[in-house]
Amino acid sequence: MSIPPFLFYLAGALVLPLVPKGAMRSLFLSLVPVLALTQFVVLPFGEYASAELFGYTLILLRLDALAYAFSLIFSIAAFLAALFAWHIRDTTQQIATLIYSGVAIGAVQAGDLITLFCFWEATAFASVFLVWARRTDGAYFTGMRYLIFQMLSGLLLLAGIILHINATGSNLFVQFPDINFAAVLILLAFGIKCAFPLLHDWLQDAYPASTPTGTVVLSVFTTKLAVYALARGFPGLEALVYIGALMALFPIFYAVIENDLRRVLAFSLNNQLGFMVVGVGIGTPLALNGTVTHAFCHVLYKALLFMSMGAVLLRAGTTKGSELGGLYKSMPYTTVFCVIGAASISAFPLFSGFISKSLILSAADKQGYTLVWFALLFASAGVFHYCGIKIPYFAFFARDSGIRCREAPWNMLLAMGLTALLCVGIGVFPQPLYNILPYGVSYVPYTADHVVFQLQLLLFSALAFMVLMSKGIYPAGLRSVNLSSDIVYRKWLPRVLLWTWGSIEQFVVSITAPLRRESRQIFRNIGVVIGNEHGSGVMLLWVGVLLVFLLALTYLAR
């Protein structure tokens, strides 16, 4: 008997309001992921819990290596996030977190497209609450934009699924054999959630807008779910290699000049996704393994970084680089955890990023994607630059901003500590993680050349940072907004639409107003001609006219 794990989360969300607020509820919140985890962690791979709905067979729980890895990391992250949010007393956020985690796990374990779609949409609706939970006007509007983008993804997926089912008659979620229109729609849907270039703006827009704890949850699921879906549906699709490379490259430029550190993290999230997408695109066992590992590690260190920034936001009230600095004096533990996260994302040896990123790089190299390989190398150096150094440096060191606050609450520290421990642990002992990878590939990350070259790359990068910093070339944090492709729908499109609407309206009015006036006049005239009282003379005239007319007609008709 196996219950699909997502049901635990949903049931938990239902029961949650009944649990008294406070420690009880927080405990409950962190126990749900553990309970759900026990349901599948020892389950043999296979398909469970299928249901019939509307003539389709739904597979609610399909466990294979790919799904297992993602479910596992999602569950761990859900637990850590719950721990991190222990102090939160906001019921809506708690419910949203539970549902969001649950449906994300459900989506990963969905064996068919319809179930996948249901969860796909549900992640969108559940997650927007976390954005809104900040409860400001800005967050509200941001959430609306976020929601619409997520919905667009869902709808494209829906259309694609329907087209797919119509063409193939099967609703199983397996690799899409050929890239027809249906597949393109589905790819686009995945692409939106995966923040493909030009479809990515929702990510940098929404993630920094959430609450300190909300962003942590957000950073875990949506995009990794998309990576999972790509890995399942489109492994080896070559276009993805280039899309991924582009994703890895362009956000780093933005990240360097971005002021809001959580948005910097969002850009780096995008950049890291690029690595994973490249891995999916290469599609060799090594590359796919790299994608899975990287996603696994990424969830942890990105969560860690967002946690540390969340703690900063909670205590210092802002995460803007221009306002922060010298926080290590107040929040030393957070500082250390942040540095561990930064080291992990920068792929320092002995940290988790190292053992995952190199798989993808190796795979790219192996398959002869030279340019892509260079690009990824560049991106790796860049990551260290704007994320590995910039985040800890601007937040905790640099010039002293004078902010003196308390250290993060114990639960946050505990959550960060556990996450940091996992990051280091995986970095040191990668084999357990490698063991759960979908493809049996033996890979040894810790070879001399790997370590040395990686260190070369990173330390020279650091050198560059130092040089630029000392020369004053490094861009300082400035309160600003950096334009991106989202200006199209945030500024231009509304203007164009309003203008079009307005001019159409004006046009219609300018046409109809005289028409209306005229017709009213005609109407009134009819009234005057027909309705008014006329003298007998008029009548006589009509009699005469009619007579003459009739006579003429009869005469002519002869």
Partner: protein
């Protein structure tokens, strides 16, 4: 009891209820009890009929009254589509009655007896529409429905209410008298009958270039279906009290419109005939335009009920679009939309009414933070809205699913795009209610005017929308049964 007498009963019961209500006008509690009892009995009766239809029977009552022109009779006949409509209308009457009691009392509305009487008559008319076996009978009940709801729309008797009711009556009566009747007469002339028949009655009898014209007469003549140029009555009717809006938008009126549209498509033209001639092509396009236009208009409305009204316009065109796709699948999807939209929209309206009762707020921009005071109402609203949007786990999803399926089968990409765009737009106009309600801080500028913090509305205002919201969820999982029932449309021979 046999099927035929059950047919008569379905129409007579609400009328009887109206008489009872009138008789008990001095005893409000008994009067409301009369409404409730009647609605429950009616529902039971309709369920009996539905069961009989599900078993393959076709309850009939022909030649009830002789009509002047030979071959033209009033007749009743129940096929699956009508059975579904009847079941929805009578079922929602129960919920709506409960809600009406809560709403009318909480708002201390006047003329409550008139309200309940007209309501009952409107339900009788809706039953008649559902059960009618030919166009003339349908037309008669259609007009009765218009007339019976007119006093309801004008209920408040303010200048605004009168103006709205006037537009309501004018558009509905004029389209039906001008175009619908004309179309019926024309149909009669072509086919020699106006009785609904499996596969339509026009096939091979009308020149193919005239078929779209006749269809146009029907499409615009059925004003209650609120196709683009004739949709204006719906926003105008928003002046009515909320239970009436629920009646208009969910229980009876607009549903009667699209139901008629479906009936005409399926049983007068015949889906095959429409497909062969392509007579409904233009209608599909117009319905698509209607969907998008109304959605955009909804987006621009700040008044919650006006927003809902435009949403209804857009959602109704789903049915028309589905029918105009001219495939059996499309027609079934349209029928499904009638059911799904009914439950979704009634939830929304009852929530809007509950919000009004509790806080006297009508504008979306004024809802900030209200959800924290009324979590149940807003949750129900969210469920209803998501169902309308077509989110999974809610009934509305399957409609979207089937319509896209039907459009895809025809390789009509544009309608898939329309469906997607419409879902996006509906999300865009519903999400603010939820987002603002739950997450924005309440406005404080109004000061002590709203000194008494709003609380959840009375139980009878909150319970009904909760029930219908739950039904929205159940419908997602139980769609199979409904669908199989509807499939009888193309299997049985009525």
């Amino acid at each position: 009891m046999n099927d035929t007498s059950a047919l008569y009963l379905a129409i007579l019961l609400p009328l009887l209820g109206a008489v009872l209500i009138a008789a008990l006008r001095n005893h409000p509690n008994l009067r409301e009890a009369a409404t409730l009892v009647t609605s429950v009995v009616l529902f039971a009766n309709v369920c009996w009929l539905v069961a009989s239809v599900a078993n393959g029977a076709t309850p009939r009552a022909e030649n009830i009254l002789p009509m002047p022109v030979s071959g033209l009779f009033l007749s009743l006949e129940l096929e699956p589509l009508g059975a579904m409509f009847a079941a929805i209308a009578s079922g929602l009457w129960i919920i709506n009655s409960l809600y009406s009691i809560g709403y009318m009392r909480a708002n201390k509305e006047k003329h409550q007896t008139r309200f309940y009487i007209c309501f009952a008559i409107a339900i009788a008319a809706a039953m008649g529409i559902a059960l009618s076996g030919d166009l003339i009978t349908l037309f008669v009940f259609y007009e009765v429905l218009t007339l019976a709801t007119y006093p309801l729309v004008a209920h408040k008797q303010t200048a605004e209410a009168k103006a709205g009711a006037r537009t309501y009556l004018l558009i509905l009566l004029s389209t039906s008298v001008f175009l619908l009747l004309f179309a019926i007469a024309w149909t009669y002339d072509i086919a020699g009958t106006v009785a609904f028949a499996q596969g339509g009655i026009l096939s091979g009898r009308i020149e193919s270039w005239l078929a779209p014209v006749l269809l146009a007469c029907f499409a615009f003549g059925i004003g209650k279906a609120a196709l683009l140029p004739v949709h204006l009555w719906l926003p105008a009717a928003m002046v009515a009290p909320t239970p009436v809006s629920a009646l208009l938008h969910a229980v009876a009126v607009v549903k009667a419109g699209v139901f008629t549209m479906l009936k005409v498509g399926v049983y007068i033209f015949g889906i095959d005939f429409l497909e062969q001639t392509g007579a409904s092509q233009w209608l599909a396009w117009l319905a698509g335009a209607s969907i998008l236009y109304a959605s955009v208009r909804a987006l621009a409305q700040d008044n919650l009920k006006a927003r809902l009204a435009y949403s209804t316009v857009s959602q109704l065109s789903y049915v028309t679009l589905a029918m105009a796709l001219a495939t059996p699948l499309g027609a079934l999807a349209g029928a499904l939309q009638i059911a799904m939209h009914a439950f979704g929209k009634i939830t929304l309206f009852m929530c809007a009414g509950a919000i009004y009762v509790a806080s006297h707020r009508t504008q979306v921009s004024g809802l900030n933070g209200l959800a924290r005071a009324m979590p149940v109402t807003f949750t129900a609203f969210a469920v209803g809205a998501l169902s309308i949007i077509g989110a999974p786990l809610l009934g509305g999803f399957w409609v979207k699913w089937e319509i896209i399926f039907a459009a895809n089968a025809l390789e009509q990409l544009v309608f898939i795009i329309v469906m997607i765009a419409s879902s996006m737009l509906s999300l865009a106009y519903f999400a603010p209610v939820i987002g603002r309600g739950f997450f924005l801080p309440p406005a404080q500028a109004s000061g002590d005017a709203d000194a008494s913090a709003p609380k959840e509305a009375p139980l009878l205002c909150v319970l009904p929308p909760s029930i219908s919201a739950i039904i929205c969820i159940i419908l997602f999982f139980q769609v199979d049964a409904l669908w199989r029932f509807l499939e009888l449309i193309f299997e049985s021979t009525p």
